[in-house]
């Protein structure tokens, strides 16, 4: 049975739940958000990714209503939300610090938002129990926030922000305080909850792995600008700039001058070296400066000269052993260092290469992405 792929952003008929139109936010003369355009669709799990201080929290706070844009408009379900106070928005936020009420029990924290709606008592109780079950906190309902662990607190914060069944849930670095294993577990829990409740999630993170794991689409930010918005695999496989390629995962960047014939680009990258070949659908000018981005796992390494397009010889200067993988750092005569990654299918003692071995690195014409910025 063919399944419909969730991709509302490809459907021109689809209306976005949130639309940023040329939004700018300035603090004094500092521009935290720089004329951003962004559409987020209902039921999406949207990740904002970027280094610390690039404006992720500011973007969220504008959605929640704690900051107003200096210019531009934000539409929620087609309506300008600028005049709507934070307590009137169908948006809930899970704070970076969790912001649990220390004087209230877990139960009362979760019930807090529901009680403000003046719902009947039994409805509130039923909803709280439902949330406790969803976040597996039933046993801790009577405890105060300081009597539970960091991971449990984080789940209380999640339950509290989900309780009112908001149209949009904002999660500001929700898993920052957790250790790696718990974080991975919680990521899957979040995805599960998002699927069950059908809420639109916007998650802020500076952890690229986290963004790739949970998100339907990722926006990469830098200094208040959106660099690229795409699905995780597009961001990884087809970054639109050196910044994005470098920010997401490991990458080899080679700078050079382009000579394009049809789809094929020949890159002159170093004196006396054969040009590197890559395929692209871009149209580059003659001798335009551009960059090849090649992921280490797409570079193969061999003792003898391989057949394919791009093959370079060098010497292994470093090996990073990651358990399942090893990354070889190969230094070329030109001084460039190329990283090549190989799966460790054999035991370590049988590894074919070691330090100071002369080896060939190579990749296909389609392995490299041609970038012009």
């Amino acid at each position: 049975m063919p399944q419909k792929i969730f991709a509302p952003w490809d459907d021109p008929q689809e209306k976005p739940l949130i639309r940023f139109q040329n939004v700018t936010k300035r603090f004094g003369d500092f521009t935290a958000i720089d004329s951003i355009d962004l559409d987020i669709y209902a039921r999406e799990f949207f990740a904002l990714l970027g280094p610390s201080g690039c404006g992720k929290t500011t973007l969220m706070r504008m959605l929640a209503g704690f900051e107003t844009p200096s210019s531009g408009t934000i539409l929620l379900a087609g309506q300008d939300i600028a005049p709507v106070a934070p307590n009137q928005r169908a948006v809930n936020m899970m704070f970076q610090s969790y912001a649990l009420f220390p004087h209230l029990s877990v139960w009362d924290n979760i019930a807090f938002g529901l009680r403000r709606e003046k719902r009947p008592k039994d409805q509130v109780a039923a909803r709280v129990e439902e949330m406790l079950k969803l976040t597996r906190l039933t046993k801790f309902a009577r405890r105060k926030p300081h009597q539970i662990s960091g991971g449990q607190r984080q789940r209380v914060a999640l339950a509290r922000s989900l309780a009112k069944a908001p149209k949009l849930l904002l999660l500001d670095e929700p898993l920052g305080a957790l250790d790696k294993k718990l974080r991975e577990e919680t990521q899957f829990e979040l995805m599960d909850i998002q699927e069950k409740t059908g809420t639109t999630f916007v998650i802020v993170t500076h952890d690229q792995e986290e963004a790739m794991t949970v998100a339907s689409r990722v926006a990469v930010m830098d200094e208040g600008k959106l660099m690229q918005i795409a699905t995780p695999d597009r961001i990884y496989e087809a970054p639109n700039s050196v910044y994005v390629a470098d920010f997401i995962g490991d990458v080899n960047i080679i700078e050079g001058k382009a000579h394009q014939v049809g789809e094929l680009v020949q890159l002159d990258w170093a004196e006396g070296q054969p040009a590197l070949a890559a395929r692209t659908d871009k149209n580059l000018g003659l001798a335009q400066t551009c960059y090849l981005a090649i992921r280490p796992e797409k570079v193969s390494i061999s003792a003898d000269r391989p057949g394919g397009a791009n093959a370079l010889q060098g010497e292994i200067i470093d090996i990073a052993y990651l358990g399942n993988l090893s990354t070889y750092h190969v230094k070329l005569p030109t001084g460039h260092v190329i990283k090549a990654q190989q799966a460790n299918t054999r035991r370590i003692s049988r590894r074919p290469f070691t330090w100071e071995d002369k080896v060939w690195v190579s990749w296909t014409e389609t392995a490299a992405v041609v970038l012009d910025q």
Partner: protein
Amino acid sequence: MRRLILIAIPYVWLLALFLIPFVIVVKISLSDTALARPPYFPQWDWSLGWAGIKDFFAELDFENFWFLTTDDLYWKAYLSSLRIALISTLMTLLVGFPIAYGMARAPEHWRPTLMMLVILPFWTSFLIRVYSWMGILSQNGLLNALLLGIGVIDEPLIILNTDTAVYIGIVYTYLPFMILPIYAALEKLDGSLLEAAEDLGCSRLSAFWLVTVPLSKQGVIAGCFLVFIPAIGEFVIPSLLGGSETLMIGKVLYEEFFSNRDWPVASAVAVILLLILIIPIVLFQRNQQKQAEAEG
């Protein structure tokens, strides 16, 4: 052994500076007045040995406490002190909370200065400050001169030597004790809690009632006790600022000691006052303990 000494030091301190004086006061309260020096009887006579001790205890009785119930001056003074202390504690809270709130909300680099301003009055003698209130509140004092000058009133207000002046004096004197604990509680308050409350549907006002107030409760309670306990036994303020009809137990105590030279009755008054105060003090300590547990 070193540990024992360390543990013993605070107990020795308490014994020497609190318990022993208290036992002496209780002893005097059980004695009778005498025209002697010191002005009470019986005295401990070491030379008679065991018989002397027996005689000594035989002479002690609760006559002075009984006397306190016969003259309605005393219980009226206790009640009036309680009333004045309660009302002025409440007024101090009403004045102190907004000040503490404003301080906690002020930009961070201002806060040390504001804190300094709050404790600045302590650098001048308390007595001088109360005297200067006399200068401000008297019939031809600064306040009346100002109000007459700008034409708000035609006749000078009579404030000095009334209960109003006592309230002003107590609120003024004890305000820092109210502000500081409340400020400490409010300053710790995480601003994102208020945003979270708003995010969950609270208005600014209900966020204040549901988050700020409960989270500053400990500070409010501490401040109230720090004002109430000294205010109830206050002597200087009612005698300098209050009128002849301002009845406070501290004043009664002073008169018994120094005007009547009736040490035993004065001691009985003091013992009862202490018993009245012990109740709120125990409550206060229980509250502190609960707070420590909640934070621990």
